[in-house]
């Protein structure tokens, strides 16, 4: 784990997010927000025969929340939905590769929590 919260890879995802935009024919559109910080993310999911065929997101907020959403789209596109319904938060934090302080954990996990709600309905967040 790096202690550099704003390492190059995160800033790169923040400035040039992957899968950024909307899918007009999305099967699922899910908004998630973090009222404490004002971070907002909307996922557009296109399903394809039990898999996530395509994904886009829109959002605004801090670098950690937006970079984490961008990284998450890379991790989930093309994967079986059954697998994504229980996508482990830890996999995303590993991909971020930085020490997240308790105060910023909500920013880092907004994307994966929003994905979970999109695929499972409004279930409690993973601890």
């Amino acid at each position: 784990m790096s202690d550099d919260l704003y390492r190059e890879q995160i800033l790169e995802h923040y400035k040039n997010p992957h899968h950024f935009g909307e899918l007009p024919d999305a099967d699922i559109t899910q908004e998630g927000d973090n009222p404490l910080c004002g971070d907002v993310i909307t996922f557009y999911l296109k399903l394809d025969d039990g898999r996530l065929g395509d994904v886009r997101f829109r959002g605004r907020g801090c670098a950690i929340s937006q970079a984490s959403a961008s990284m998450l789209t890379d991790l989930i596109v093309g994967k079986p939905l059954q697998e994504l319904k229980t996508f482990p938060t830890k996999d995303l934090l590993d991909e971020l590769g930085i020490q997240i302080s308790p105060a910023r954990m909500k920013c880092a996990t907004l994307s994966v929590n929003t994905l979970r709600v999109a695929l499972n309905g409004d279930v409690p967040e993973e601890d």
Binding site: L5, Y6, L11, P35, L36, C37, G38, D39, V40, R60, G61, C62, A63, I64, S101, R104, C107
Partner: protein, 411 residues
């Protein structure tokens, strides 16, 4: 008798043990006193002394240390009364904090007096603590809320005040905005409210720690503030109200200490102020608040205010030179207390707060418990730097240089 003392930030710093520590390898630069102030050693020691030497439940013990605890606790109340120029210590009700003081008025005075269809007038810049209690009361008694708007400098628009006060039973207003730093013209607004037959409640959480406050001169009816923002401990706050109002109000919490005579099916109430203080009070915290009042009194609140004006003038001048910055709140330090909110193009407030924390600088980022004000400003969050007696102008230079470093990271 309290010795007077010149206010010199460098000398005052020596009174605050925490300001000697380092954070992330750098000296702590504490710019979040609007959230909670740091505590001078004299306050910490006074509370410690209570626990070590005369810890006892006050008010009914007939033994020595209980009498000492009672005397210290009631002496703190007397000093608070003098500090805000209350007509009597009987008008000083100890609560847990500003929020509880406002909720006391909501439950006691509000439920008994606010009529269905009546209006409660607030402002767009209220902290949630002076908004949500009135939303709840309005729902309960079928009253309505209306709001004084702010202009783009963060000042209240008061041209239509008399019209807006028609049918209003209560005006609840902050003395100084915790987000914008705006100091509101309470005395003038209270006069207008009284002409219209409304009572006035003031949230003084950001005012009492930073400027002279004279509740009789302001001419208001209820005034609430917290100990922990004025060098005192958490867990102690104050509701001041006119004695005639307090006498007419039903109790808030029921229990021990607030009663005179209890029978199985009824009770009569204690005298003021204890009628509103059920249960064992926050004794150490009350005594600690008394020590905090003494600590501030040696400087004098005029000097505290003037020190903070110097910091605000300096900070406004330096911050406005930062490229891509947007400053909120009045530009004139006459109307601007020691809290400054800003946003930067391309850097979210949370990212900025995290990055300057690495330089040992503590600033607040978020909505500052003023979400409707954030909506009005059209932002999700701001960064806020706030000042107190121990802050120096060079700490503002450090903040500016921290902002510049953050801008390089995000360039």
């Amino acid at each position: 008798m309290i010795q007077t003392r010149a206010l010199n930030a460098e000398a005052a710093r020596a009174d605050f043990p925490i300001l000697g520590r380092r954070v992330n390898g750098k000296p702590l630069i504490y710019l979040d006193s609007a959230a909670t102030s740091q505590k001078p050693a004299v306050v910490i020691d006074t509370m410690d002394d209570y626990y070590r030497r005369y810890n006892a439940n006050p008010h009914r013990g007939v033994y020595a240390i209980s009498e000492e605890a009672t005397a210290a606790y009631e002496s703190a109340r007397q000093r608070v009364a003098t500090f805000i120029n209350a007509a009597s210590p009987k008008e000083v009700i100890f609560t847990r904090n500003t929020t509880e003081a406002i909720n006391l008025v909501r439950y006691s005075w509000g439920r008994a007096n606010i009529r269905p269809g009546a209006r409660i007038l607030l402002t767009e810049m209220e902290h949630h603590s002076n908004l949500v209690p009135w939303q709840l009361l309005a729902q309960e008694v079928q009253a309505t809320l209306s709001f004084l708007r702010i202009d783009d400098d963060g000042l209240l628009e008061l041209e239509q005040l008399d019209r807006q006060l028609e049918g209003v039973q209560l005006l609840a207003i902050t003395h100084q905005s915790n987000t914008l730093g705006t100091i509101n013209p309470i005395k003038a607004v209270a006069e207008a409210a009284h002409r219209a037959g409304a009572l006035v409640l003031v949230d003084g959480a950001q005012a009492v720690p930073h400027m002279p406050v004279d509740v009789q001169d302001l001419g208001v009816d209820f005034y609430a503030f917290s100990g922990h923002k004025m060098c005192g401990p958490t867990g102690i706050g104050v509701l001041w109200a006119r004695r005639s109002l307090l006498e007419s109000m039903p109790p808030f919490l029921g229990g021990g200490d607030m009663i005179k005579r209890v029978r199985l099916n009824e009770a009569t109430w204690n005298d003021l102020p204890w009628k509103f203080e059920a249960g064992t009070p926050s004794v150490a915290e009350g005594i600690g608040l008394g020590a905090a009042v003494d600590y501030l009194t040696q400087f004098g609140m005029d000097r505290v205010r003037s020190h903070e004006r110097t910091l605000v003038d300096y900070a406004l001048e330096k911050l406005q030179e930062v490229p891509g910055i947007t400053l909120y709140g009045p530009r004139d330090s006459e109307l601007h207390g020691g809290a400054i909110s800003f946003t930067l193009a391309n850097i979210h407030p949370h990212d900025l707060a995290t990055l300057v924390d690495r330089e040992g600088i503590a600033v607040r980022a978020g909505h500052h418990c003023t979400q409707p004000l954030m909506d009005r400003l059209g932002v999700a969050a701001t960064t806020r730097a706030s000042f107190y007696i121990y802050n120096r102008v060079d700490e503002i230079d450090q903040l500016v240089s921290g902002i510049q470093k953050a801008q390089k990271v995000f360039a």
